[in-house]
């Protein structure tokens, strides 16, 4: 499929002579622009299968590059480099090195599902973004993203007690990412609320931090979930060949 990806042209390969006359014709400036060719030889042939094997990535093979996902994308509207269509192309072609140029922003997908809504091929691009971010972390290309740290802290609480308490989620996340709870905007939010709230409500909210909400008789569900999570983790490590790496060390 001859798809010409403008994004694949690296800025350093765009050559332009400020002053150039060829056969008596002045082609200075952009008239003389040409692209130095470069050969990509290091295709990662396993990349698509690995990402397709992770949750959310299953239908990446259906993509026919229409670009509806990028066109609909919430984050693309804020940052042009956030380009799901292009990343799906790179993954399908095995162009890992190119994908890694964008590795630090892929986790920023907000799961608004506008892409999934627009996709005419049921690729589930939102899932592909999550699978790709997960793949980058598992392979050690990126550290755990703030989003993954949040998701893990949140999920741990759900798995442990069956419910979450939002104050605790916030405090844990700020602690895990080294942020202070005294940020001006947060303080101003809480102060504004306290000023208006009756004392009984405040007492109740305070108590909620000591008597956390939980689901009763959750032990068996917790054990079943924990078992599944560890099963799944091993499965993903096997899929990405991480188990062999660990054995070899």
């Amino acid at each position: 499929m001859p798809i010409h990806e403008k994004s694949l042209i690296r800025p350093e390969n765009l050559v332009e002579q400020d002053e150039l006359v060829v056969d008596g014709i002045d082609v200075s400036g952009h008239w003389s622009t040409f692209i130095t060719s470069r050969a990509v030889t290091d295709y990662n042939e396993k990349m698509q299968d690995e990402i397709a094997g992770l949750a959310g990535g299953e239908f990446i093979h259906r993509c026919w590059q229409c670009g509806s996902c990028t066109n609909a994308c919430t984050i693309n509207a804020l940052n042009n480099d956030f380009n799901p269509r292009y990343w799906i192309y790179l993954i399908r072609m095995g162009m890992e090195e190119e994908l890694l140029l964008d590795k630090d922003i892929i986790w920023q997908c907000v799961s608004c599902n506008k892409c999934t809504y627009a996709c005419p091929r049921d690729v589930n691009p939102e899932g592909v973004m999550k699978a790709t971010a997960h793949w980058l972390e598992l392979k050690g290309h990126t550290p755990k993203s703030p989003s993954m740290i949040f998701d893990e802290g949140f999920s741990e609480q759900v798995f442990k007690t069956g419910k979450i308490e939002d104050g605790l989620v916030l405090r844990q996340f700020f602690a895990a990412t080294g942020q202070k709870l005294t940020q001006t905007w947060l303080v101003s939010m809480v102060v504004g609320l306290i000023k208006r709230m009756p004392l009984t409500m405040l007492t109740r909210l305070g108590l909620a931090t000591f008597f956390r909400p939980r689901t009763s008789n959750w032990g068996a569900a917790r054990a079943a979930i924990d078992e599944y999570v560890s099963e799944k983790r091993n499965e993903n490590h096997r899929l990405l060949g991480l188990d062999k790496m660990e054995d070899g060390r």
Binding site: L78, C112, N113, K114, V158, D166, W185
Partner: protein
Amino acid sequence: MSKKHKEVAYYPGCALEGTAQSYDRSTKAIGKALGLPIKELDNWNCCGAMEVKNIDPKLQTYLSARNLSIAEDMGFDSVMAPCNGCYHNLKKAEYDLEHDASSREITARLSNKAGHRTYKAGKVETIHALDWIKDSVGEEGIKDKVKDGLKGLKIANYYGCMYTRPRHIFPEKDQGPGSESTSKPHYMDDLLDAAGANSVEFPLKTACCGGAHTLSDSDTSTKLVLNILQAAEASGADVIATECPTCHTGLEMHQIRAEKMFGKKTKVKILYFTQLLGLAMGLSPRKVGVHENFSESLPLLREKGLG
């Protein structure tokens, strides 16, 4: 008037027990005022929100299926969730359990180990608080109960992402006239207009507030929210009506954050649609938890003669 959903199981979810107590309070208050009995699910659990699916989507299916099995055990055929996250996840579990064998297998395995009934697709219908009001009493029922009404209060109705996307998990939507639309939802507009509001033309009804990354990528969320707030003001709205605790809290929090961090001040107020319906029916601001919102709307409500 349809009698559909006359008695429903109520799934408040974690947010309505926490930051969104005013949504819980106002939902219960209007249920009472409209004569719509609700019964809270016994010993429910978190639906997985937007986080558990990123650990593993099948776990989210299981968590939601457990709640659906409780509704079934309690003898209900519909469960009402006011939170878009809960509503979305229960709908998604229903879809996956119907269409995906491995979701069925994993849910059955986890349910057996956890020692409860395995939920099977088709037993319980999940509805949103909007469906609950719209299908049971409808606009006519609201008009009957309204006292002074909302006096033409200009409202931008904000529905968010999880109420409409992805389309395939909402088979009842986009079914022609009368049904809810996934591209231009109108249930909240219909109900609030029946209560005497003046819903403005608002193009960002289903835009994203960045709720999933509200804390992990705050600057992005602030930009997305600011866009929504400014669009609402440009549409002439005094109030944004919400129907999702994540959207609601996100709008409130990033309105303050946009002012403190970027110096962008907006004055539009944010209220749950249930609070607005309650006020229209003559309930006091306190009864519908206006003081529990971060957004300080009481002065505006008083000015409009609603407080």
